[in-house]
């Protein structure tokens, strides 16, 4: 048998935390689909929501009975912490790209992601990253604005 962690009950729920979220979300969908004025268009999504809820409950039962220990909340939190800056960069990029302008935002996002993803950061690497980011923006401009004729938002910069 796989060794159960010493803090058994707590970690069981931790392992099932994602499934609990899914179950809660599916329940919300079931409630929304039943509370609609016109029930006909909600029949198909309601069946799906009920299936999703039942499967999430089944998955929680599997975890609770010790069947699936593949998910460890502590590992997830450690990994998420490592990529939290990158997640923030993606969110900021998408949130600000319309306001800043797609090309300016692309250069800033490129630099941020390269910086976050690098193990060490020297002045020379910074210069390389700036040059590559600017070159990428030029390629994007040629590809989208000139070739595909897509008018992307320019924002207050470019």
């Amino acid at each position: 048998m796989l060794d159960a962690p010493p803090f058994l009950p707590r970690s069981k729920w931790a392992a099932a935390s994602g499934d609990l979220l899914v179950a809660a979300f599916a329940l919300l969908l079931v409630v929304v689909s039943f509370s609609a004025e016109n029930p006909q268009p909600y029949l198909f999504p309601r069946i799906l929501a009920i299936a999703m809820f039942s499967l999430a409950l089944l998955q929680i039962l599997i975890v609770a009975s010790g069947g699936d220990w593949s998910v460890q909340l502590t590992t997830i939190l450690q990994e998420a912490r490592r990529s939290s800056l990158a997640i923030l960069a993606v969110i900021l990029y998408v949130a600000l790209c319309e306001w800043l302008g797609f090309y300016t935002a692309a250069i800033l996002a490129f630099l941020s992601i390269v910086y976050i993803g690098s193990n060490n950061w020297s002045q020379r690497q910074f210069a390389t990253a700036v040059a590559v980011a600017a070159a990428t923006a030029v390629v994007l401009y040629v590809l989208f604005s000139l070739l595909l004729r897509v008018q992307v938002p320019r924002g207050w910069l470019f």
Binding site: M1, L2, D3, S17, G18, D19, V22, A26, L29, V32, Q40, P41, Y42, L43, F44, P45, L48, A49, A51, M52, L55, A56, L58, Q59, G67, D68, S70, V71, I76, E79, A80, R82, S83, A86, I87, V90, I91, Y93, V94, C97, E98, F102, A106, A109, F110, I113, V114, I116, G117, S118, N119, A133, T136, L140, F144, L148, V150, Q151, V152, P153
Partner: protein, 499 residues
């Protein structure tokens, strides 16, 4: 031999240029560790939106084929499979590279991939019209069960946990219902103005496949391995060598074709089964794992031989055989081409041009692949953080370009970040994508079936009776129960090894 009538369309200047571009680009993308074929194809879909359907599909098909073959480069030189389909290639390919035969191993890969790929495409050419004629008898209830089979097969066989795969499939099907209902035009689940038009397939595909990979690449922080040196090896010697290994090529091709026809089985199964069978039939089984060329030939022949057959259920029944095929289905749908029994009646030119381009693409893949094998060591040295940044900005521009909609960009990023976190809990993107792509087909046929059923004997007799309905339901049950069985068996094996 209807396909020959449309062969000329592949060689129009623009289509041929797109084919070369897709093949060369696919090989490079596949060679880069961290970029999966599915993500590469998903990222290309926005560009095809601006092309004629045939040219768009040629680009996607070429990229699909070439990324699978390109994945062998990092498998051999870095011991990191570029795609799951290249797992078996690592076993002997990397050992050959360690023994100073990296160039020979790469040449073996591309030549055997080409042989397997061409044989697989011939299966696609000859099987597809036969299956399409048979599928003409399908009514709404059958098409509904077909769509459900597509979701359950990928959900149960393509995920580590069958239950989590099925939950992901349900989530994908539910996401497809966001926006206006197809029958009554009622708005559903539009919690914000950005969701009023529903979730565009491209935004979902790019978000679910590209953004999680960007975040994973950053999470790894460029933990690439040592790149092995390349020796000089004449190509003609490798060609002669490959054609002398008939047993490995035959096993690879047969296994690849059979596995490819089974929806959801995937290239990694083809590669591993073929490798295993070739080892069993080999006169030198002890050499396998130590740099045996037959191991590389068998694995690469199989994983490319499955590409063509994996498109047979997609083109005839709308059931993708692999996650990448699911993305291709999305690519077909955005061009207004609905795969199914009528495909070769309604769109013969586009369909045959696409299939022919896959055949020519296999030959180009060998040529470009052999050229790439000289530069491979340089290509795979690209730092992952630069790749991640490039993929992210391309994802934003590509998604925006489809409908000129900032809402699509927001949806793409939200789904992507959400999927990255969701993957941490053991859920996978492929069933969600399949649900999103097949959801409208399932719901439309469910609604049509309901109308027919209400005019007749009712829902249960219409959906749950008849040989074809029962066969499809049995296949759904079989795919779920078999994956649950294998999951329990592997868990028990793990428990025994831990004890």
């Amino acid at each position: 031999m209807e396909f020959l009538n449309y062969m000329g369309a592949v060689f129009t200047p623009f289509n041929f240029f797109v084919l070369c571009l897709g093949t060369a680009g696919g090989l490079i993308l596949g060679a880069l560790p961290g970029l999966s074929p599915t993500m590469a194809v998903a990222l290309l879909i926005p560009f095809t939106f601006h092309m004629e359907p045939a040219a768009g599909l040629i680009l996607l098909g070429a990229a699909y084929t070439a990324t699978v073959a390109g994945g062998a480069v990092s498998a051999i030189l870095l011991k990191i499979p570029g795609a799951p389909a290249n797992i078996a290639t690592v076993l002997d390919g990397h050992a050959m590279a360690r023994n100073g035969q990296a160039a020979k191993a790469l040449q073996l890969c591309f030549i055997s991939s080409g042989i397997g790929g061409v044989l697989g495409i011939f299966v696609l050419i000859f099987f597809t019209p036969i299956l399409a004629k048979w599928a003409l008898a399908f009514g709404p209830s059958h098409l509904f069960w077909m769509a459900m089979l597509g979701v359950t097969v990928i959900a149960s066989l393509g995920s580590r946990s069958a239950v989590k795969g099925l939950i992901s499939g349900c989530i994908g099907l539910w996401i497809s219902t966001i926006g206006y209902d197809q029958i009554e035009g009622v708005e559903r689940f539009t919690f914000t103005e950005h969701l009023t038009g529903g979730i565009h397939t491209i935004a979902a595909l790019v978000g679910l496949f590209a953004v999680p990979q960007v975040l994973q690449m950053i999470e790894r922080r460029g933990g690439g391995g040592e790149v092995l040196a390349m020796e000089q090896h004449p190509v003609w010697q490798t060609v002669k060598f490959v054609f002398g290994r008939i047993r490995a090529i035959s096993i690879g091709s047969i296994v690849g074709i059979i596995v490819g026809l089974i929806p959801g089985a995937g290239g990694q199964i083809a590669g591993l089964v073929s490798y295993d069978q070739t080892r069993k039939f080999s006169k030198n089984p002890d050499n396998f794992g130590k740099g045996e060329p037959d191991g590389v030939i068998a694995a690469e022949t199989a994983n490319n031989a499955m590409v063509g057959p994996s498109l047979v259920p997609l083109l005839t029944l709308s059931v993708p055989g692999s996650p990448t095929a699911a993305v291709l289905l999305g690519g077909l749908l955005i061009h207004g081409i609905f795969p199914g029994p009528d495909l070769f009646i309604d769109y013969p030119e586009v369909s045959w041009t696409f299939i022919n381009s896959l055949l020519i693409g296999q030959l180009l893949m060998v040529v470009f692949g052999l050229a790439l094998s000289r530069l491979a060591a340089k290509v795979i040295r690209l730092p992952e953080n630069y790749l991640a940044a490039t993929v992210m900005v391309l994802a934003v521009f590509g998604t925006y370009s489809v409908q000129h909609s900032y809402s699509d960009v927001l949806v793409m990023a939200t789904l992507g970040v959400g999927m990255y976190l969701f993957e941490k809990f053991g859920y996978t993107a492929a069933p969600i994508v399949l649900g999103i792509v097949l959801g409208p087909i399932a719901e439309r046929n469910f609604a049509q079936g309901r109308i027919i059923a209400n005019a007749g004997d009712g829902m249960a007799p219409y959906f749950l009776s008849g040989g074809l309905n029962l066969t499809l339901i049995a296949l759904i049950v079989l795919s779920i129960t078999s994956s649950v069985y294998f999951e329990i068996r592997s868990r028990k094996q793990k428990e025994v090894s831990h004890a």
